[in-house]
């Protein structure tokens, strides 16, 4: 199909412009009414509740409770992202380079877990890590008496988040790895590189786009994750999303909760904008 030239655009009839408007207007009206308006209200609330000031934002950075929660959220997200890299890389590498039945099976298993709801997977970990679950049993058998608490700790949160977000990293890496030409590695080997050197100098750099892609997805998901930390984590060591929920549901601190949500939104959008400049946002979701 030949691309339309600027003159064709300029010559467009009034009825065609009206047609375009008719096609685009419903979704735009919907996005403004059901997406933009609630967010603008929230922004307004964050500077007007209880009174018109920036007190809520000052509070976020001056109170130890909120600063600690933000730092904790950042550290958990960073750790989960790093753990996901180390777990996803071998699996994706195996599935992409061997091309055998077992590799494809592992990949399909990872893709399938996308379709299984967060709550189901979180519940599974609740059972596994719980006081009457297998992990505690094993710890007792090994000689921890009394066994340390695992459920309702930050460790449990990190295990759950890693398990839930790992498939994103696996698929992000895999989609890049399948496009890598195997001859490049062979060329490096034939020119005298050791397999390790060939991996570090040739293969690994080629997988970087997928790695960055997976990291952005996992890290951003982690920052705003509510359900899994709420069910597996400690109620005293809340992540930002949990704190927002507590502020508004238990304490009715609308202004403060809104300010926190605005901050979370700002961080997410900043990260995505940087990503967009570097790589292009269209790539992120395939």
């Amino acid at each position: 199909m030949p691309a339309e030239t600027p003159t064709m655009v300029a010559r467009k009839s009034l009825s065609e412009r009206f047609g375009t408007l008719l096609l685009v207007a419903p979704v735009m009206i919907f996005i403004i009414a059901v997406f933009i308006v609630p967010l603008v209200r929230m922004a307004w609330l964050s500077i007007s509740d209880p009174k018109l000031s920036l007190d809520n934002y000052v509070m976020l950075f001056s109170s130890a409770l909120y600063a600690k929660s933000m730092l904790r959220t950042f550290l958990i997200s960073l750790s989960v992202t790093l753990i996901c890299i180390f777990l996803a890389y071998p699996l994706a590498y195996y599935a992409a380079t061997r091309g055998n039945l077992w590799g494809r099976f592992l990949l399909i298993a990872a893709a399938l877990s996308f379709w299984i709801s967060f709550i189901v997977r979180t519940y599974a970990w609740l059972v596994i890590l719980g006081n009457r679950g297998p992990v505690i049993d094993i710890l007792k058998t090994v000689g921890f008496e009394p066994a340390p608490r695992v459920l309702f700790t930050t460790t449990a949160t990190m295990i759950g988040l890693t398990h839930i977000l790992l498939p994103y990293m696996i698929l992000a890496l895999y989609s890049v790895m399948t496009k890598i030409d195997g001859n490049l590695g062979r060329a490096a080997l034939s020119l005298g590189a050791t397999p390790f050197r060939s991996f570090i100098k040739v293969y690994f750099p080629l997988t970087l786009p997928g790695l960055v892609n997976g990291c952005v997805l996992v890290f951003i998901f982690c920052l705003g994750f509510y359900v899994t930390p709420a069910l597996l984590g400690s109620p005293r060591d809340l992540m930002v999303a949990g704190l927002i929920a507590t502020e508004v549901q238990d304490l009715l601190q609308w202004g403060l909760a809104s300010a926190m949500a605005m901050l979370l939104l700002a961080i997410t959008v900043t990260l995505l904008t940087i990503y967009d400049r570097l790589i292009g946002l269209d790539r992120l979701w395939g």
């Binding site: 685009v24 979704v27 059901v34 929230m42 777990l87 195996y94 592992l106 059972v127 359900v227 979370l264």
Partner: protein, 280 residues
């Protein structure tokens, strides 16, 4: 890759990678399946391994309105919001893929925006917004919220389908005397239908699985299944959740078998083929 030099070392390396990859695969898959024995457990609480087995909690699930109503709510909300999503997304995708107009980039950005906002932020926004306009704890509120967050996902699928559509098919129909409406109904729509159905399915699943916004705005009356499951963990430690989880995993597995039937069949036949190659 065939290398005879250092073959033994190579084999050890390959085996190590296989082993590590398989263990990680086990970590991805295995935890989900603890819910299957849990659903047949006779324990009152979340105990694993189960002390005994029965099907009592399955009976309880199918007899308890407190569980069946949320299932119905989720199916209803998911269906309505999926259709509403398509109604909004398909025309916009046609305009964005096929036409040039001023403000195109703004529309494209607007359609993708909901994907960039964490659910907890939207949940708080909707809790306040629907509270003010008196829609909290209604079907309408949950449908509108879920439609909004499904728009980007459905758009990506529909736009990709449209881009892959060969417009010569339409030109051929027109040149053979069809009017634009006939062309759309008899040519365009049937060709695009599979892609549209995938988008519809994505939108439905996105709504069906959504928990955070539903936790904030659905209330007890229009509670969705994820909300009910969340409550059943936090409030009453109800073992029926294992039954629901098992059924949900079962649906996904059956769906995968149907959806990937050809790939799975090919997988097994290719496995057999490579086995034959080995034998030869």
């Amino acid at each position: 890759m065939q290398s005879s030099k250092g073959g033994g070392m190579d084999r050890v390396n390959r085996l190590a990678v296989t082993l590590v990859a398989s263990l990680i695969g086990l970590f991805v898959v295995a935890p989900m399946f603890v819910v299957v024995p849990m659903s047949f457990s006779s324990a009152q609480s979340f105990e694993f391994p189960p002390p005994g087995y029965w099907v009592g909690y399955y009976e309880k699930f199918f007899e308890t309105p407190g569980w069946l109503i949320p299932v119905g709510n989720s199916i209803f909300i998911g269906s309505v919001s999926a259709f509403l999503t398509m109604l909004l997304v398909v025309p916009a995708a046609f305009a964005l893929v096929r036409r040039q107009f001023r403000g195109k980039n703004i529309v494209r950005l607007a359609v993708m925006l909901p994907l960039m906002v964490p659910s907890i932020v939207m949940a708080l926004g909707y809790f306040e917004f629907f509270g003010i306009i008196g829609l909290n704890q209604t079907y309408a509120a949950v449908v509108l919220a879920h439609t909004c967050i499904s728009i980007p996902i459905a758009f990506l699928v529909v736009a990709a389908t449209l881009k892959g559509f060969d417009r010569n098919l339409e030109r051929a129909a027109i040149s053979l005397g069809a009017n634009p409406l006939q062309t759309f109904a008899l040519i365009t729509l049937p060709v695009l239908r599979p892609g549209f159905l995938v988008a519809l399915l994505f939108a439905f699943v996105h709504s069906f699985d959504e928990s955070v916004i539903a936790l904030f705005i659905s209330g007890r009356d229009v509670a969705t299944l994820p909300r009910k499951m969340f409550d059943s963990i936090t409030v009453d430690a109800d073992p029926v959740i294992a039954v629901v989880s098992t059924l949900l995993i079962g649906v996904v597995l059956i769906g995968a078998l149907i959806g990937h039937y050809r790939e799975i069949a090919a997988l097994f036949s290719s496995g057999r083929k490579s086995g034959l190659a080995h034998a030869r």
